[in-house]
Amino acid sequence: MSPAPAFALLAGLAAAALLAERAASVAAIAAALLAVCLRAPQRRRWPYLVGALGSALSVFLVSPFVSHVGTHMVWEGPRLPVVGVLDVTGEELGAAGFQALRLAALALAFAAYTLLLDHDRLLQSAGFARRSVLAAGLATRFIPTLERDAAGVVEALRGRGVDVRGIRGHARLLSPLLAGSLERSLNLAEAMEARGFGRPGRTRVPTPPWSRLDRAALALTPLVIGLGAVWL
């Protein structure tokens, strides 16, 4: 499938997950997106899947304790300062599960976009706001670069006898990694300018014509959003 219709369909599924009001519908969308993500190579997909499913699980586990809705008590705990009584109701569990599924669907749509779409062709197919689209495309390309940099920094630290352990240890690397990314983006900007980026009269490599599947995917996108808003 061409990247532009695939991108539209992914965006449509994400919008439907946000608009749908039945947990089963959102779960079906999340499951479909998970199946799509599983087509990516195992080595690349696992951080995205862990991130998507882990953050959804966190929402499911934490939100019942910080919300106070419902009357069907499932568990009642001690009273804590500031927070109040710790309790979990059936309604809170239901709402937490629903929000967790929504978050999972959104994160999996982003994972599918990052892992499976040909961003070069997506950039080429953008007929408007090319600078903004290029910036977004470059930002996406930086994600795997950032992953590689992170692995490199951890390896260099291990090479001098420093072990990076736990969430806190990895979190300390965020600032140097971001600084490194900024430095790289400056070098990239310099190389782009040297290659004529920003010059008037730019042309584009011809893109291959869309297939029937591409047209079908594009037609399906508003339908999916409409279904999410009205029926699901």
């Binding site: 190579p41 195992q42 080595r43 040909d118 961003h119 070069d120 950039l123 080429q124 470059l138 390309r141 795997p144 670069t145 940099d149 490199g152 920094v153 390896e155 260099a156 630290l157 291990r158 090479g159 001098r160 006898g161 420093v162 300390r172 690397l173 140097p176 600084a179 490194g180 430095e183 790289r184 070098n187 990239l188 900007a189 310099e190 190389a191 782009m192 300018e193 040297a194 290659r195 004529g196 980026f197 920003g198 010059r199 009269g201 730019r202 042309t203 584009r204 490599v205 011809p206």
Partner: protein, 450 residues
């Protein structure tokens, strides 16, 4: 008439006191291959950036004098306007590749300069084929080795059919055969070429003229024959020379690391190592050499305990240390001395001693990111040396290092050699000959292009 000309060019980067270039006047004639030599920080890269218009347009700073490229004054013409007339290949391909697919990367410049759409794909493919990289079309850029990426960057420059091709240390990532083939290709292109290099042997054998820069000034601007005489008298370390025979260790101590029948493949990839054997003893410096993609870095990481082999046995007797070829990975802390002290639980005394050893005394309070690329290389070395490893694995420590610094590094390695084992991964046969007790060659996997 000169294709490129600088008249009394002086330039100072913003927030820097000393000028990067001072009173530089050179003229580059059509068809010439000019080799620019000089120590790190001498202004070579800045001169190339001035010839592409990036100085001053991209960098800002104080600019005086004049640069003209094919009749265009760079004070008026922006780098994007000069693209097509001038093309630049920078040192680090990772910092210039934009797209995920090779042919799109090569086509990017053609799109920018307004080549008719129908002509772009055939010109991109022709450029790849002209430098023997046609087989890379269709590949994803993140799957390419550094050497392959460098070729893609050259193809992207060549596709523009520039009148002036600027190459900033283009062979720093390549093995000797790859570097030689790369420069031979450049010579065959017929463009005017200005190439800056820290491994002067190959460009000096091919160039028409040599510029030697030091502290931003041109010390030499002569045809090759005269330049070789000048270099022999004034800067003999820059003279091309054959690699000497390894300086056999006087006393080899106990075994520090042994690799037996080691095999390794990255997930989803072909085997990188198969049946590798290595015996490293205390007191010796072993140079590990081989073509791009032959598995040198992988073997070094296995020896340092950073990778687990899928088959075979690795035995350590002591503590390993590993210096990555990317000094950008040693910029974690806010101060230079704290960065080095990270490997010794924050103890600043040995960290400062290690900084002195690598010539960075006085830099303790600076931010690591404020250091130049050459200084970052030395900081990374200090960050590993301070841990006093029994096995020191150095991955390409001379990349982008000038001959004077290489001599200092060789001296530093030899001075500390007796107390440890040093495994030196390098593409530099001259440096290997100068410093190593023995050389281990590893088989090639990546084809050398013709």
């Amino acid at each position: 008439m000169a294709l490129a000309q600088t008249d009394a060019l002086s330039f100072t980067y913003p927030e820097v006191g000393t000028p990067a270039l001072e009173g530089v006047s050179v003229a580059i004639e059509p068809g010439e291959l000019v080799c620019v030599l000089g120590p790190s920080g001498s202004g070579k890269s800045t001169l190339l950036r001035a010839l592409s218009g990036l100085v001053p347009h991209f960098h800002g700073g104080r600019f005086a004098g004049r640069v003209q490229i094919a009749g265009n004054d760079t004070r008026e013409a922006r780098p994007a306007d000069l693209a097509g007339t001038v093309a630049t290949v920078f040192q680090d391909p990772d910092d210039q590749v934009i797209f995920g697919r090779v042919e799109n990367e090569v086509a990017f410049g053609l799109e920018n300069v307004g080549v008719p759409p129908a002509e772009i794909p055939p010109r991109a493919i022709a450029a790849l084929e002209s430098i023997g990289a046609g087989h890379l079309a269709g590949r994803r850029t993140e799957t390419l080795s550094e050497g392959e990426l460098q070729r893609v960057c050259l193809a992207a420059a060549v596709a523009l059919e520039p009148r002036l091709l600027l190459l900033d240390e283009p062979t720093s990532q390549l093995d000797p055969a790859g570097a030689e083939a790369f420069l031979d290709l450049v010579c065959r292109l017929g463009s005017t070429v200005v190439v800056s290099e820290q491994r002067p042997t190959l460009p000096l054998a091919r160039c028409d003229r040599v510029l030697f820069l030091e502290a931003g000034r041109v010390l030499l601007d002569s045809p090759r024959a005269e330049a070789l005489e000048w270099i022999a008298q004034r800067r003999p370390r820059y003279l091309p020379r054959e690699a000497s025979e390894p300086v056999s260790a006087t006393a080899r101590g106990e075994t520090v690391c042994t690799l037996e029948d080691v095999a390794f493949a990255y997930p989803g990839g072909p085997p990188v190592l198969d049946g590798a054997e290595l015996d490293l003893r205390r007191g010796e410096i072993v140079a590990l050499m081989g073509a791009n993609g032959s598995g040198k870095t992988t073997l070094g990481k296995i020896a340092a305990g950073l990778l687990e082999p899928q088959r075979g046995r690795v035995a350590f007797h002591g503590r390993p240390g590993y210096l990555s070829q990317d000094p950008g990975r040693y910029l974690v802390r806010e101060r230079v001395d704290e960065e080095v002290a990270l490997g010794v639980r924050g103890d600043l005394a040995p960290a400062r001693a290690a900084l002195r050893d690598v010539g960075l005394a006085g830099y303790e309070a600076r931010h690591p990111r404020d250091l130049s690329s050459g200084e970052r290389e030395r900081l990374a070395l200090a960050a590993v040396l301070v841990t006093e490893p029994d096995l020191l694995v150095l991955d390409e420590p001379t990349r982008g290092v000038d001959p004077d610094r290489k001599a200092e590094l060789a001296e530093l390695l030899r001075r500390g050699a007796t107390g440890r084992t040093t495994l030196l991964i390098t593409h530099d046969p001259v440096f290997a000959g100068d410093v190593a007790d023995r050389v281990v060659q590893i088989g090639a996997r990546e084809a050398v292009y013709a």
